[in-house]
Amino acid sequence: MNELVRSTASELAALIHSGEVSSAEVTRMHLERIAAVDPEIHAFLHVAGDAALSTAAEVDAALAAGEQPRSPLAGVPLALKDVFTTVDMPTTCGSKILDGWQPPYDATVTARLRAAGVVILGKTNMDEFAMGSSTEHSAFGPTRNPWDTRRVPGGSGGGSAASLAAFEAPLAMGTDTGGSIRQPAALTGTVGVKPTYGGVSRYGLVACASSLDQAGPCARTVLDAALLHEVLAGHDPLDSTSIDEPVPAVVDAVRRGAQGDLRGLRVGMVKEFAGDGYQPGVQGAYRAALDQLSALGAELVEVSCPHFDYALAAYYLILPSEVSSNLARFDGMRYGLRVDNGAATAEEVMAATREAGFGAEAKRRIMLGTYALSSGYYEAYYGQAQKVRTLISRDFTAAFTKADVLVSPTAPTTAFPIGEKVDDPLAMYLNDLCTIPANMAGNTAMSVPAGLAEEDGLPVGLQIMAPALGEAVMYRVAAAFEAARDAAEGGPLFRRVPGLEVPA
């Protein structure tokens, strides 16, 4: 394997900006890597080699002309989740119903990446419309976990996470509605951040559940995630829910955290996220992480968030409700798939298109949401769920008076075999037990690699949660933990991903 593809984004940026290596070379190496391993991993739905090389060439030309890099990540390649609109690539959201749709506009995230000179390699696989925890609900086939290709990489952003773990890209973009960035990060031994709701623009992010969706960075290191975070974040007038506040200085926070001193910081252990249902190896890695945080000087406190127990149930009312409305536009009338079958009326074309175009999980959630919003049921379902949401926010507020950050395992288990849970929705939904509360309350949370589970040798994630706009303290804790863990284990976890070497 070429050493360039094993490098971190910040290392690559340094090489490119100092002129030691061209962005074109870096990009070519990643495209070669994709060509070699993606037939097995299937992280990408679309690879835009020519466009990527031409962006890289532009960055190289600007640097050769003596210009300053357009951003700290100029020239570094990235894998974009196929949920962000792109004028030069299809956007399918992992759904047959959008197969071949090429948007006429760029998402704000896409535009900011382009403006920063980030090289977009292509679009990554995902559960259909970001609904799933394994990427098995993609209409274009599952993505495989580079740690064990018989297993899932998590979801919905399994493609983005797997592309990092398989060294196909040093950076990736995800979206997190109930854990779609963090849970795949945990299952692939990578870093994934869900910013504060409104921290990164949703304009051009094809909606799953509008009040829960949040775009965020995926990387192999905390520093790389922070560098990408600062490229993405900031107010966007095209998104009414975007926060008009200064972007937290997360890169500075990472550099501070990497010094390894967490004295004076209180880390809250969420009592509800432990015990039955958590794989022993996950619990073991979590306890080791707590010891490491304690060794760094942090004060560990136990906090209770009693309403987190109801988060999953409330989430599966609010999310499907919004989904049922957001996905209504896919009807074959204007773009994407259109199934006619000799239909006589527009209504029949809509029904035939939706019947053929949506997968089972999408249909399940559309039906759940349609039911939950129906007259006579609205108060009992959607209304009650919104009340639970308020209670979850209050739990967070109370907990953050006792602790600066909260921690938990990111997911109850390590990566599970492909096919194991795909026909058991409830088992699948439990994957997001620990990640959902942050989406419900809108605060920030991330997953950072916490080691390998003893029984299966697969990655475990540590979830760190902070208050709204509390990204700086969260990144600081993550960076300190990452540095300590790497030092204790003789190097970053991602260096231990099984070879995936391709015979020459």
Binding site: Y105, Y203, Y378
Partner: protein, 502 residues
Amino acid sequence: MTTATDALMPYDEVLERFDPVLGLEVHVELGTATKMFCGCPTAFGAPPNTQVCPTCLGLPGSLPVVNGVAVESAVRIGLALNCTIVDWCRFARKNYFYPDIPKNFQISQYDEPIAVDGRFDIELEDGATFRVRIERAHMEEDTGKSLHVGGSTGRIHGAEYSLLDYNRAGVPLIEIVTKPITGTGARAPEVARVYVAALRDVLRGLGVSDVRMDQGSLRCDANVSLMPKGATEFGTRTETKNVNSLRSVERAVRHEMQRQAAVLAAGGTVVQETRHFDENTGFTRPGRVKETAEDYRYFPEPDLVPVAPDTEWVIGLRKALPEPPAERRRRVQTDWDLSDLELRDMVNAGALDLITATVDAGAPAAQARSWWMSYLSQEANTRGIELAELPITPVEVARVVALVAEGGLTNNLARQVVDGVLAGEGTPDEVVESRGLAVVSDDSSLVAAVDEALAAQPDVVEKVRGGKVAAAGAIVGAVMKATGGKADAKRVRELVLERCAQ
């Protein structure tokens, strides 16, 4: 399915047996430069699908952003209707599948409208005041337009194919809903018409919409139900849509009353349904029969933050409201010393604003009124258009009045100047110049013309000299003809009499 042959009960009999209850829903398309949730222009009549963007096409990933001017218009409308402006409200999604609605949901307001609990006093034809209570005014986005091709009726059923134009999709609408209107008796149709007309005046005065019913920027849905005399519970209502003129509002209400009464009298029940008004027959016909009741599954729009109008801002808007049309009318009536009939004629002709503007431009009220109410009204009639649509402005009319007052024009010449302006020949001064219409006030040239005319008609001169002064008209006419109408007829007459007496 019922057809245009629905039985109707004679109107007098309807009133003997039933009391009508009305509910009026008026949709106003705001005249904002851009749409409700995106930056696309709203101009009427552009080629199909040229005023669209990802947001108003509902493309995947697009998001709405509230148009602040539209919110301001909504607040001003609410204030003009004496509503309470709430200090916090939200948008909601109204979910239903239809091709002209690009997201398959409409962003509207549901249980949290921006303006509530208003009242609006209207003046009926006999001068009586009727108070209409306003339930709410809320903001929403308009739908696109469908054109169904190939069917016989222009409706979606039976059409070969349909064309969709999304230029109108996302245009800001304000929906104004009355509380149930009772106690109108026989005057229900009139109340409905006068309410819409009065609302139109208020909206025009606010400058928030061009309120053109013919272009759909003002649309009325009329809910009508009947209850037997003495009953206290409302009957089943129908909602008649597609009512595109004031006259149609009146006709539709009257027709529904007569139709429902006939149904009830025959022992039937009124079906709660949407009906369409047919301008040609004056009948209503049922809309598409739905197998299931529509459930719009409203929920708060998660892509938008709540709207919280600042109290100080609302107070400022209230202070800056224009004088309500009814009050203005009363003031004008006093100032100009008009009879009730004269005032009503002016209002009905849509001339009040024009006359006021003409007076504001310097013309005496009597002349301003005379121009608009006679010569220009006839012209508008001939052309079959509204007075306001004539290609002449109040300022131009005021200038013509001034030219006459300065003695530069006779009344006859003034009409020619106005004709020139209406024909697009320019401003009054330009028309005077180009048509050479300046009054001939030099007596010497007039005297020559008079002498010539006298010489040509010696018999008339004899008659005048014989005491038949009225005969002088023939000479005056000849002089006017010879001078191309530029002479001052009064002066010509004086000269004719002078010369005859010599």
